[in-house]
């Protein structure tokens, strides 16, 4: 039974580009990127558009549902939208980026801060 659950969780994780992993570790410094709402930035050389920052629910793996500030990301290489919030991790061009902050003040354009994460040795 335990093996079935592990396999099921692995399958769910592999189907989503958002994943969270307790073995991941963030490294502050150079590997921080900010993208302003309604603009296109780059993560690991891949163009990513940020839009629609609003209070909403978002999902982390293992069916964890959270409510908070979310942003819609448009990953140009995948031609897909994904909704993220603080704690989401996206894999882009074999590089993982954690959403560390989603900010918005009133009607001003918001901002999403990403930090590159690498596997803990």
């Amino acid at each position: 039974m335990k093996a079935i659950i592990v396999v099921a969780l692995a399958l769910i994780s592999s189907l989503s580009c958002i994943s969270i992993n307790s073995e991941l570790k963030s490294f502050p410094g150079d590997n921080v990127e900010e993208i302003t709402e309604n603009t296109v930035g780059e993560l690991n050389g891949v163009r990513v558009g940020v839009s629609n920052i609003l209070e909403d629910t978002y999902f982390l793996p293992y069916n964890r549902q959270l409510t908070g500030m979310t942003a819609q990301l448009f990953v140009f290489t995948d031609n897909t939208d994904v909704t993220v919030g603080k704690g989401s991790v996206i894999t882009i061009n074999k590089s993982q980026w954690e959403v560390v902050k989603v900010e918005k003040e009133g009607n001003e354009l918001g901002c999403v801060t990403f930090q590159r994460v690498i596997n803990k040795e």
Binding site: T36, N44, G49, N52, L54, L109
Partner: protein
């Protein structure tokens, strides 16, 4: 104006992107115009956001007229837009950023608080094609009723 452009950490253009690639290399006119405008306004940060009608006035040297889509019946609006396009007028459209409609607009694929360009009108299907200046995430076959719901103005030059 120097022949260089701001780039990202990966060496790609930071703002407007290269265009179609021909025998002599990529088209750079959009990047050049953007840079000239940024210099005239005091920097790239100074030209972020704003009114797309104003930008079109600068590009076309023609005065911009603003319309509210909700002022028109669907069929009338479609014909009006089609008529402007047939006269080669430049048409920009501004999506609403109102908080009460934002989640619905997001689900409809709209980037809220953003400017689009009208590309075409289909009278029979009552849809329009809106071009996103990102170069992707366009609104194709977008119904005129959704346009009236999620866009608060269009501007014609």
């Amino acid at each position: 104006m120097k022949s260089n452009f701001p780039v990202t950490s990966n060496g790609n253009p930071a703002y407007a992107q290269k265009g179609d690639i021909g025998a002599k290399g990529p088209e750079l006119w959009a990047m050049l115009i953007e840079k000239a405008y940024a210099i005239s306004e005091g920097g790239y940060d100074e030209i972020e956001g704003g009114n797309p009608g104003d930008a079109m006035e600068i590009l076309t040297n023609k005065e911009s007229t603003t319309y509210d889509p909700s002022d028109y019946e669907d069929a009338v609006l479609l014909k009006l837009l089609k008529n402007f396009l047939s006269k080669k007028r430049a048409i920009t459209a501004s999506s609403s950023s109102s908080s009460e409609k934002k989640k619905q607009a997001k689900n409809a694929g709209v980037v809220t608080g953003h400017a689009y360009i009208l590309k075409s009108v289909d009278l029979s299907s009552k849809t329009i094609n809106l071009h996103n200046p990102w170069g992707s995430k366009h609104l194709n076959e977008f119904s005129i009723s959704k346009f009236k719901k999620y866009f608060y103005r269009f501007q014609v030059n």
